[in-house]
Amino acid sequence: MSLTIADVEHVAALARLGLAPEEKERLRDQLSSILGHIELLDELDTTAIPPTAQVIALANVLRPDEVRPSLPRDAVLANAPRLVDGFFAVRAVLGGPGADTDPS
């Protein structure tokens, strides 16, 4: 498996991961190499094998639908880089006039 810079850029965009040009080149080479090792799995015919997502015999773990105490709002917001009126603040997502309402 050999990746191109375009492949790396596509995956980085999916992962919202900013990469410098030299990082893209290094990742192209390293990921191609790792994917080459992973091709070992092609030796195995798994058409009749069911997939395993997790290993313990638990399914549909439910709890009663009851109100429980949660963390105080101040404690949860204490690490936030930007706040407005007790909310997490982000750049406007929908664009247009007034999109840049950054409070900081």
Binding site: D7, L17, Q30, S33, I56, L58, A78, A80
Partner: protein
């Protein structure tokens, strides 16, 4: 390069110092008032101050918290209300959330992050009266085998400071080995407790998936991650597992299984007659060091001397475990780490748009190995590749698990080396990610199958510790602890300490 197991003793014998004694012996002396928790804690803090500037076990030392906990522990002991861990100094790996110290996962993206809640294991230790010495180093987000991926510094191996302590829980492993903590907590996704325990010559246990609550553990690969103990004896590991195990409503994947009295399981005699121990030829691979093989073979002979029946077993899909892991773990990681977006906590590189803020925050905040795994996992989950990689890996995972199910129908435990080599030099594997991944080749299968694995010292090669791995049936940690304890008492390996003066 070692050619065989060392015949001459390595390191020094255990002394009577509080920083040398196993936790069970500290417990006895605390209860007998021969030592106070304050004295024990001060001894550890003094040793940390003297040695950690060079060893780099800790990201954050919690001296004030530790002193307050020690005073509370002494009061509790005086009231006759001590539990097994009251007054015992513990190192917490820095991916376990604590309200009274930062939790960074050794990542720039979380530098300065203060969790609003404690991990369940932290709560249990706090309530049990343990003393928290600090937050110990790790590879960034638990991704690595050497702590060289820590954004802050590389921990040194106490047996040879030019070498790595293993990883990713290298900080707590080296701390317990160096007398900078009596016990440690780490987490194991592909070997991150067992491999560093082996490289540092201490006991490390990855419990069964679901045995210990993962609430408050920063998630790496959620179907594989499990929290477990580091200790200077199997008895101590049993003590700590008993304190942290059990069902937790805050973790839907924690198992509603009863927690046996692990310490009581060790109380029997050393006679292993009637115990069937499997040995798999698939764990004898090219690239295994001769000294490792010699020490592990000697340990198997010792187990036979103690009465165990050694039974050949087949684990034919072992060679596929590494490739399977490097699809499954990065895929889960890529989803888990999407939460680090510069909005709720941690680093935020504010840019013109939200999307650019995400990309720049993550681009600047994550180190090279974390980026590599996010990329690999995102690729394996992306449209057009999902079936070929992710589903394929899940199917091979079924085959690996079936191998163990079939073997454990015939044996009570399986023994293998913990790692194919002893600790390697700092910098030796950083240029080739796949070489680094290979150091977990013997530990990964247990994570894929969810079974427990115990790593314990079984000798030295080239002056460095060698480790024996004992794998068990799901939720049968008691058996592997019993076997490990019997082996440990028949040898003196666990009583050797590195020379650090």
């Amino acid at each position: 390069m070692a050619t065989g197991a060392d015949a001459a003793p390595v390191g020094r014998p255990t002394t009577d110092a509080p920083t040398d004694l196993p936790a069970a012996e500290l417990r006895r002396r605390l209860d007998a008032r021969e030592l106070s928790a304050a004295e024990v804690t001060e001894a550890y803090l003094a040793r940390i101050a003297a040695l950690d500037p060079d060893l780099h076990c800790y990201i954050t030392v919690m001296a004030d918290v530790a002193r307050a906990q020690a005073a509370a522990a002494d009061a509790r002991i005086a009231r006759g209300e001590a539990g097994p861990l009251t007054g015992i100094p513990v190192a917490l790996r820095d991916n376990l959330c604590t309200v009274d110290a930062d939790t960074t996962a050794a990542s720039k993206i979380l530098q300065g992050f203060r969790s609003p809640y404690d991990a369940t294991v932290v709560t249990k230790l706090r309530e049990g009266g343990a003393v928290f010495l600090g937050k110990a180093n790790t590879d960034e987000f638990a991704m690595g085998s050497s702590t060289e991926n820590s954004a802050f510094f590389t921990t040194r191996n106490p047996w040879d400071r030019r070498r790595v302590p293993g990883g990713s829980s290298g900080g707590p492993a080296a701390a317990v080995a160096s007398g900078l903590a009596a016990l440690g907590l780490g987490s194991d996704t592909g070997g991150s407790i067992r491999q560093p325990a082996g490289f540092c010559g201490v006991v490390g246990l990855k419990p069964t998936y679901g045995r210990v609550s993962r609430y408050g553990l920063l998630a790496f690969a959620s179907s594989l991650d499990q929290i477990g103990p580091f200790a200077r004896s199997v008895e101590d590991a049993a003590l700590l597992l008993g304190a942290i195990g059990g069902h937790d409503t805050m973790d839907a994947t924690s198992a509603p299984e009863p927690v046996p009295d692990f310490s009581a399981a060790l109380a029997g005699d050393r006679d292993l007659r009637g115990v069937r121990i499997g040995v798999a030829a698939e764990y004898d691979v090219d690239g295994m060091e001769a000294g490792v093989k010699a020490a592990v073979d000697a340990a198997v002979r010792r187990l036979a001397d103690l009465g165990a029946e050694i039974v050949p077993v087949g684990l034919p899909h072992t060679k596929y475990a590494l490739a399977t892991y490097y699809i499954t773990a990065p895929a889960e990681a890529s989803a888990n780490l999407s939460r680090y977006d510069g909005v709720k906590y941690g680093l935020s590189v504010e840019s013109a748009t939200l999307r650019e803020t995400y990309e720049r925050t993550r681009g600047e905040g994550f180190g090279p190995e974390v980026k590599r795994r996010i990329m690999l996992g995102t690729y394996a989950l992306s449209s057009g590749y999902y079936d070929a990689y992710y589903v394929k890996a899940q199917k091979v995972r079924t085959l690996i698990k079936r191998d163990f199910d079939e073997a454990f129908a015939r044996v009570d435990a399986i023994v293998a080396p913990t790692s194919p080599t002893t600790a390697f030099p700092i910098g030796a594997r950083t240029d080739d990610p796949y070489q680094m991944y290979l150091s977990d080749v013997f530990t990964i299968p247990a994570n894929m199958a969810g079974i427990p694995g115990l790593a314990l010292p079984c000798g030295f090669a080239g002056g460095l510790p060698v480790s024996l791995q004992i794998l068990g049936k799901p939720f049968d940690e008691a058996t592997i602890l019993r076997l490990g304890h019997a082996y440990e008492r028949s040898e003196g390996w666990a009583e050797r300490r590195p020379n650090l003066a």
